[in-house]
């Protein structure tokens, strides 16, 4: 054990931790929105929209995160047309690529968590709201979302911890 090396490298490791936390919070923030969007799409009655959302979560949960990062970072730069658009400035940076890949990945898992939370809400609660004459938008934001958040918090906590561990991939 080389304690001198440990002490001298500690500040560097600490500043690296700050980068990890920044990336984590940014991608969790975007991932939550992506997850919410796709959870709502999953519950849509239209089979095409439904299948699309299912396909998204299936692909992103079925492939390793390493593959997704490699496709986004190395693969997308290959398309000539893509290089000429303004998006290229974003995808050139490894930092932004990491945020995009991690957000898309955590979005897929979050959408599954939220979907199951929405499905556990008893239909009676929604019907009660309807019979009181409350508009369906108000029911969604004031009744369904608070219940879904409460239901999904334990599973979402697991997801945050998994994401934190997964960030090690970013270094490679």
């Amino acid at each position: 054990m080389d304690f001198d090396l440990m002490i001298t490298s500690f500040p560097k490791l600490l500043s690296a931790t700050v980068i990890t936390l920044k990336l984590l919070s940014a991608s969790l923030f975007f991932g939550l929105f992506i997850g919410l969007l796709f959870a709502i799409l999953r519950l849509n009655k239209n089979p095409i929209i439904n299948k699309f959302a299912y396909g998204y979560s299936y692909v992103f949960r079925g492939t390793p995160l390493l593959v997704q990062i490699f496709i986004i970072y190395f693969g997308l730069g290959q398309i000539e047309y893509f290089r000429s658009t303004f998006l290229w400035a974003v995808f050139k940076e490894p930092y932004w690529c990491a945020i995009i890949a991690f957000s898309l990945n955590t979005g897929a898992y979050t959408s599954e968590i939220l979907r199951s939370a929405f499905q556990t809400i008893k239909p009676g609660i929604i019907e009660a709201g309807k019979s009181l004459g409350i508009s369906s938008r108000v029911i969604f934001f004031k009744v369904q979302i608070p219940i879904a958040i409460k239901q999904s918090l334990p599973a979402y906590g697991n997801e945050i911890i998994l994401m934190m561990k997964v960030f090690v991939i970013y270094v490679s």
Binding site: G62, T63, L66, V67, I71, F74, G75, V168, S172
Partner: protein, 230 residues
């Protein structure tokens, strides 16, 4: 598309062999994980505090540490540790351990921690009366475990075990950092030498999806088979 053909000009055959390698690593890692689960599940369920502590230590540490770190630790630290032990016995040559063995051990220890939790949960959710009944009937320990507890435990554990399998399958992509030629490593090599990363990484994604799809179908059938009569 020609790049994916089988033969000398295409990477199809190389990627096929790499896929087999991924499957081989995942299966051996899963089996090593079962071995660890077999050791640590009884520890977690034991009535002695110290044994509980050891079991909890294993699952908490492994599940709380990033997978890549465990792989690095095994691959770079493993041969160092073995060489240190060998030097005590007077052997000073460089020892290199096979990437397949270290890789499947590293992933196996990780999946073992998850399997331990799954088995613990499954055994704890078996009805208490079953344990008491088998005691009353005077079964010995062997019959008690293999004929009474195990079949019920497997049924309860299977859905979660198929989750563990999916996690293990995807974790094997991380072994590519040690140079073992599995899907990820092979596509990295192919992408590097053909300058076509988009094609090869997308194809790698398709291969992983195929593997998860096939294993899902198989495991669903197995689940149905085990939950017969309930």
């Amino acid at each position: 598309m020609e790049l994916l053909y089988f033969g000398d000009n295409g990477w199809g055959d190389e990627l096929f062999i790499a896929t087999l390698m991924t499957v081989a690593v995942s299966i051996s890692a899963m089996l090593i994980g079962f071995l660890f689960a077999l050791i640590f599940t009884p520890l977690k369920l034991s009535k002695y505090k110290i044994l509980n502590l050891i079991g909890n230590f294993y699952t908490t540490v492994i599940r709380g540490v990033p997978e890549l770190l465990v792989i690095y630790l095994f691959f770079f630290g493993g041969s160092g540790a073995i060489m240190y032990v060998a030097s005590i016995f007077g052997y000073f040559e460089y020892i290199e351990i096979n990437a397949f063995i270290t890789g499947s051990f590293a992933i196996g220890i990780i999946s073992g921690a998850y399997s331990t939790e799954v088995f613990r949960g499954a055994i704890q959710s078996i009805d208490k009366g079953q344990f008491e009944a088998s005691k009353v009937l005077g079964f010995n320990k062997y019959i008690h475990f293999f004929k009474v507890i195990m079949p019920q435990m497997l049924r309860l554990a299977l859905p979660n075990l198929s989750n563990v399998w999916q996690i293990t399958l995807k974790d094997t992509s991380l072994i590519s950092v040690t140079g073992l030629v599995e899907i990820m490593r092979q596509s990295y090599i192919a992408a590097g030498s053909t300058r076509d990363p988009l094609l090869f990484y997308s194809f790698a994604a398709v291969l992983y999806l195929l593997l998860t799809f096939i294993s899902m179908k198989f495991l669903n059938r197995l689940e149905k088979n085990y939950s017969r009569g309930f």
